[in-house]
Structures are given as structure tokens and as C-alpha cells.
């Protein structure tokens, strides 16, 4: 039996020497070029960081590869960022270019800093999760192949954070991203009447539905439930408590896109992302519809936003009506909130643009 509750290794064993020495005493930093940071300590010491993209879903051999780089140039230390990127750290300016070379040799792009697109926060999808309405890694791959240039450069008005969640559980900070890609169901649960009575607790199942769409089966002989189609908004809450009610459907499952969220408190307070495309089909392996609309939005944003203006700040300034006009995304009834706080989203002023 393993030891219990030892907790994670102490980070003090994990940080490189220069960090140990200047811990808490950094003075300023600059971005030397995309993916390369230079931090200067009060002591005058320097710390160079080379940031490299990662597919996140990696093999142990991949980790060994990057360990090799770290052993060679970084005294055997490296770190990961909160968006899955790999960071190689060194006090030695001379090592920066060799690290970049080594990363390139491994096929890893160097970038993800400053006013560009960093790695896409994402989740499990069809690789591991039972709940997924879409996949994750392939969409990220397809997107980053197309957005690659924004990762290795810093030419957007501001940071642009893209995130993906394969279902509306929204693992990750997807609900507060500049662009969020979310897997959605659009068909009501397919009920397995044979199994339901046996494996699910019927009252719990009924209670699980936030809209009250689930009722007992009208035929008392059948120990199961039925779903009122007009009340179901495909949240999957019933499926969480009752496996006999899967929502997954080849045609009904797909992707919704949300925009304009942010997390930082810089300038504007944190904001939620908001629905901009209610549904796009799942189209493996490269989800071309999703890739195309994301690219379009990024381009419209790049062209219209002011410097240091995040997506949501830009939209707030020009108005959502302008956003829909510029992106040519059709406005539908789905965009209008009808959930609990709906009234807070209605336009209670004559102030609007045409």
C-alpha cells in the first residue's frame, strides 16, 4: 500500500536556482519576441523563458523529449503554464536560441505570449468522457493549425483566449473566454424504457430536470419516464443521474460558439462569454464549419478592435448589433436568453444602433 496524504512534491525542489535566489524579487519583464520573455530581478539577475506549445494529450516519450531539452539547457528544470504550454527557463541569454531550435526540432511552436492566441484550454471529448457532445483534441488541432500564425506572433489587438469544452459541464474556464467552443446536444434524451426502471431511481430522475420536462411514463405498466419535447433544453442533467437517458446523437450533437468573455480584471471586470453561434454540426476530423467561423471572427476582431481591447471590450463598445452585422452571423431566437436571469439581458433602453 502506498503512503497516504503525502501531497505533491514541494515546489522548492522544483524551481531552478535563479528562481530560488530571486524568489519574490522580480522587478520587470519584457517580451523579447513571441514566446520569449525576459524577467529582470532586483538583484540584476535575468531569467529567460521560452514558451512552447503542446498538444496537451501527450505520450510519456514526449515528456522525456522535453526533459532532454531541459537537461541540456535549463539545469534540468521546466514548467507548464495554466494553458498547457511548456516553459523552458534559463538565466543564460545564450541558451535562448538553442532552446528554440530544440523545441522546433521536436515540432513545438514557440510563442503564445502577449497579444496573440495562446494554447486552447480544452477537455477530454471522445477520447475519454462519457458526457461529450463533441470531441476536443481534434478540434483544437484543426483550429491551431489554422490559427498557428497567431500563436507564433503578437499582432492582435490584445490577448485572445480560446477555450473548448466538449459538453455544457464546461470543464475549464470556457464560460469566460474570448472565444468558447462548446459541445451541445439538441435532441432530447433517448430513453431506454427496458433498462430505466432497473438502473435508475425514477423520482430522482424526475427531480433532476431543471425545467420539469420529465414525467412518469403514462402507461403505468412501464416503469420508466417520458420527456416533454417542448420543455427539454438538452442540459443532460437527467443523463448524469440516469444512464438510461443518453442524449448523444450523430446528427443532434454539435457545437455552439460563445464570445466576449474574459477573466482578468484589467480595465473591464471579468465577463461571461455569450452565445454567438447556436449550432454547428460535428464534422470530423477537422470541423471545417467551426474553424471557418472562428477564423472569421478573429479577423473581424483584429480589423476593428482598438489596441489593448479584448474581444468582449470591443463588442461592448460597438454593441452586439454591430458585432452581428460585421461578422454576418445570423441572429436567431436562440441568442435571446430565456433562462432564469433572462430579463437582465433585455434591452431596456432606446439606445441601440441600426
Amino acid at each position: 500500500m502506498g503512503k497516504a496524504d503525502i501531497g505533491p512534491p514541494n515546489f522548492r525542489e522544483m524551481i531552478p536556482e535563479v528562481v530560488k535566489k530571486n524568489y519574490g524579487d522580480w522587478k520587470y519583464h519584457e517580451i523579447l519576441k513571441p514566446g520569449v520573455l525576459r524577467h529582470v530581478a532586483e538583484s540584476g539577475d535575468e531569467l529567460y523563458t521560452v514558451r512552447a506549445g503542446s498538444p496537451r494529450l501527450v505520450s510519456v516519450d514526449f515528456i522525456r523529449d522535453i526533459c532532454d531539452v531541459a537537461d541540456k539547457y535549463c539545469d534540468g528544470h521546466l514548467r507548464f503554464t495554466s494553458r498547457y504550454n511548456i516553459e523552458f527557463l534559463t538565466p543564460d541569454k545564450e541558451k535562448v536560441e538553442p532552446i528554440i531550435e530544440a523545441a522546433k526540432k521536436l515540432g513545438l511552436p514557440v510563442g503564445g505570449t502577449g497579444d496573440g492566441i495562446s494554447n486552447i484550454v480544452h477537455t477530454q471529448g471522445w477520447v475519454h468522457c462519457h458526457s461529450a457532445a463533441t470531441d476536443s483534441s481534434p478540434i483544437v488541432k484543426a483550429l491551431m493549425d489554422e490559427l498557428y500564425d497567431y500563436f507564433i506572433s503578437m499582432k492582435l489587438p490584445a490577448k485572445l483566449r480560446v477555450s473548448l469544452a466538449c459538453c455544457i459541464n464546461m470543464c475549464g474556464a470556457v464560460h469566460c473566454s474570448d472565444l468558447a467552443i462548446v459541445g451541445v446536444h439538441t435532441k432530447i434524451p433517448k430513453i431506454d424504457h427496458e433498462k430505466l426502471g432497473a438502473i435508475c431511481e425514477i423520482p430522482t430522475t424526475i427531480a433532476s430536470c431543471p425545467t420539469g420536462a420529465i414525467r412518469r411514463h403514462p402507461d403505468k405498466e412501464i416503469k420508466s419516464v417520458v420527456v416533454r419535447e417542448d420543455l427539454c433544453m438538452y442540459c443532460g442533467n437527467c443523463f448524469t443521474v440516469c444512464p438510461a437517458m443518453p442524449l448523444a446523437d450523430s446528427e443532434g450533437d454539435g457545437i455552439a460558439i460563445y464570445a466576449g468573455g474574459k477573466v482578468s480584471n484589467a480595465r473591464k471586470p471579468p465577463m461571461f462569454s455569450r452565445l454567438i453561434v447556436p449550432f454547428l454540426p460535428n464534422n470530423p476530423p477537422r470541423w471545417p464549419e467551426v474553424v471557418e467561423i472562428i477564423k472569421k471572427i478573429v479577423n473581424v476582431y483584429a480589423k476593428n478592435a482598438r489596441r489593448y481591447e479584448r474581444m468582449g471590450e470591443w463588442i461592448e463598445r460597438v454593441g452586439w448589433e454591430t458585432f452581428f452585422r460585421l461578422t454576418e452571423i445570423p441572429f436567431t431566437e436562440q441568442h435571446i436568453d430565456d433562462f432564469t436571469y433572462a430579463r437582465e439581458t433585455w434591452r431596456t433602453t432606446t439606445q441601440f444602433k441600426w
Binding site: M14, V19, T49, S82, F272
Partner: protein, 387 residues
């Protein structure tokens, strides 16, 4: 049997590093990884997931840290019939020495698919896919290597912190020490689920919030300062000299118009009482502007994803608290919050939702805090007031 995977193979192309290549690398050594490729191809064709509702699996003495997972096509892909995930608690700030990392690689090559997520979106090392039989031995070897499991289920999830003092000039608190300390303090809460639902702690050193705590953590700790930020006028002049448009890019973007710019004297003046510490001017002029000296933390509460009542952002609970080791005040507050939530929360109700349901009034009384205007954006509009 090695399947044809034409759709999946397509994803080996293109400039971004390919996860398919990684699965294929793992597949060379792991039958499970090989089957996983086939599962992907099948899902690409069917456009649905092929994983079933997870079962309850784990390691001795722990109630969490493992996500059980079973295939719904075990006949076709017997090597992933069970394909459980271990969540391994990362070292604070996701710093590693290669020795430690290589140890994990060895353990996982021995016990699992050889596939990982570095990292999961909560921040764990995700060891992706193994059988029930391997769970305990894998865990034993992990602890031998100095690692422990993170949280899952109705437990405290692996707390995370931004890189903070290790590299960032803006941090106002010792994020890494704090997350390490809290993680050790709350080992029991991480490993032995017993609450109404999950609870998350995230720590950012400043309001830039580089771990997205406000959006994702039930308990959000953000470094801040209580006095005035510091402007070095020589530094300011340097920026101006280099052609940086201070008026347009900084002064005009200050959310509260707390800055005044004198184009002639190149002087940047702050009205300290108007600054809300948004970080923008500091972010853009790091060589000239710095946070204040009276540092501490803002404690916020209630962030979470949408299920079932809509997403919530963390909101201010304690505008300012000093945050020095051993962080007694913070720990006591956290325990009070959890105790109250544990006692009053419904199943699958996060602490923010509970506060919403019963009202701030009752919550504040329970955790012994006085109402202050900083907790709210604005007072109530409705007249439905309890006395």
C-alpha cells in the same frame, strides 16, 4: 488487431503538434493506446462518444483521485474495456525537475497507457487510461516517486496558483507557498470526499488572475494592495521617449479615470482614491509602475461552471486580508465556509449556489463577516427585504 484510422490519421498533418502522433507513439508500447486510436476513428464515424458512465474505482484509503471509465464497445476494443484516469497533484506553479518528471513517465509506462494530459484543466497531471487492477500498484509507485493523487468527486479539488513570486514581478502574495501550504493542510479534504459537491481553490498573485480563479474556483484568493500603486516618473518618461502612447493606451483605458497625463511635463499623476487596482497601467508600463507596498489578498467566493443554474463568477467576500504564513486567518475562514456549506448544502450544490439560495445575510452571519459595500456591485433594487 490494428485498425485502419484514415480520419484520425488526417490529424497528423499541419503545423500544430499532433495529439494523434502522440497516441501513435504510445501505441507502440501500449495496446490500450492502440485501441484508443480505433475508438477515436469509430467516434469520428459515428459522431458520438463510446465511453460509458464511470463506475466507482479507486485506491485504498482514498475516496477520489481516480475517474472510472469503461468502453461501450469492449468487444471491439478489449484493451480499453476499462480505461481509468488518475489525477496526480502537480507541484505548485507546475514547476518540475526532470528527475521527478521522468519518474512519473516510468511509473505510467509501467502501469498505464503511457498517455497523459500535461495538465488537466483543474491542474492535475492526468494519467489517462489504465485498468482497475493497475490502480493500486500505480498509486504505490507514484507515492514512492514523491507524488500523490489530486481531488475528484465531492471533494476539495487540487488547488492551483499562478507562477507568482517564482517569476512574476506583480505578485502581491506568495502564491506558491500558499497553495503548497493549503494543499498540505487540506489533504483529508482532497482525498476523502464527503461534501455536497466539489470545491475548488485557486490563487492568483494579482488581479490579472492568470489561473482564471474568479471564473473557476469556489474559493478565490487574489493578491492586491491597500495603499497606492507606485509610479516612477523617470520610467514614465522613458516609455514616452520610446514612442509609447501613454495617453491613448493607458490613461484613457483606466476604468475609473484615476490617471492624469500631462503631455508637456510627461508627468503621470494618480488619484489613489480612484484606483481600483485593475492592473492595466502596471501591465503596460511594468518598468515604471508597480503595485503598492501594503500587500495582501482579496478573498472571493462562489465561482463555477454553468451546471445547473448558470455559471457564476466568484464575488468579493473579504476585500483585504493580510496573507502571511501560516495563513491562519485564511484557513479558519475556509473551514468555516466549508462547515456551513457541508451542513446546509444540497447534493450537487456548490457553495455559491447555496449562498444564492439562502441569501448572503444568512451566509455572512454563519461565517462571522460584516457586510461591506465592496461585496456588491450595487445594492438591491427590489423592496423584498428581510428584517
Amino acid at each position: 488487431m490494428k485498425e485502419e484510422t484514415p480520419l484520425v490519421d488526417e490529424l497528423e498533418k499541419g503545423p500544430w503538434p499532433s495529439y494523434v502522433k502522440e497516441i501513435k507513439r504510445a501505441a507502440k508500447k501500449s495496446k490500450a493506446a492502440e485501441d484508443l486510436l480505433g475508438v477515436q476513428e469509430l467516434s469520428f464515424n459515428d459522431k458520438v462518444t463510446h465511453w460509458k458512465h464511470g463506475g466507482i474505482v479507486g485506491v485504498t484509503g482514498y475516496g477520489g483521485g481516480v475517474i472510472g471509465r469503461y468502453s461501450d464497445v469492449p468487444d471491439k476494443f478489449p484493451n480499453v474495456e476499462s480505461f481509468h484516469t488518475l489525477r496526480v497533484n502537480h507541484p505548485a506553479g507546475w514547476f518540475y525537475n526532470t528527475k521527478a518528471l521522468r519518474k512519473i513517465c516510468d511509473v505510467w509506462e509501467k502501469h498505464g497507457s503511457g498517455l497523459t494530459n500535461m495538465h488537466g484543466s483543474t491542474g492535475d497531471i492526468i494519467l489517462l487510461g489504465t485498468t482497475t487492477a493497475h490502480l493500486q500498484p500505480c498509486f504505490n509507485d507514484l507515492t514512492e516517486a514523491g507524488f500523490d493523487l489530486g481531488g475528484s468527486g465531492s471533494a476539495l479539488r487540487t488547488p492551483t496558483a499562478c507562477v507568482g513570486p517564482a517569476r512574476c514581478e506583480w505578485t502581491n502574495i506568495n502564491t506558491l507557498d500558499m497553495v503548497q501550504d493549503l494543499t498540505m493542510e487540506f489533504q483529508d479534504e482532497i482525498h476523502r470526499p464527503r461534501w455536497p459537491y466539489k470545491s475548488k481553490i485557486k490563487i492568483s498573485g494579482c488581479p490579472n488572475d492568470c489561473v482564471a480563479a474568479i471564473a473557476r474556483a469556489d474559493l478565490t484568493i487574489i493578491g492586491t494592495w491597500r495603499d497606492s500603486l507606485k509610479i516612477d516618473q523617470n520610467g514614465v518618461k522613458e516609455y514616452a521617449k520610446n514612442g509609447f502612447d501613454i495617453k491613448t493606451l493607458v490613461v484613457d483605458k483606466c476604468p475609473t479615470n484615476a490617471l492624469e497625463w500631462d503631455e508637456k511635463s510627461k508627468n503621470l499623476k494618480l488619484k489613489p482614491e480612484d484606483c481600483v487596482r485593475c492592473m492595466h497601467c502596471i501591465n503596460k508600463m511594468t518598468k515604471a509602475i508597480r503595485p503598492g507596498d501594503d500587500k495582501g489578498a482579496t478573498i472571493m467566493i462562489g465561482g463555477k461552471a454553468p451546471i445547473v443554474k448558470g455559471a457564476m463568477l466568484s464575488f468579493v467576500l473579504v476585500p483585504f486580508m493580510k496573507a502571511e504564513p501560516p495563513y491562519t486567518e485564511i484557513k479558519e475562514l475556509i473551514r468555516k465556509i466549508w462547515d456551513w456549506w457541508d451542513e446546509n448544502g444540497r447534493v450537487r450544490e456548490r457553495v455559491g449556489e447555496l449562498i444564492e439560495r439562502v441569501g448572503m445575510r444568512n451566509f455572512l452571519k454563519a461565517v462571522d463577516l460584516k457586510p461591506v459595500p465592496q461585496m456588491i456591485k450595487a445594492p438591491r433594487t427590489n423592496p423584498y427585504v428581510f428584517f
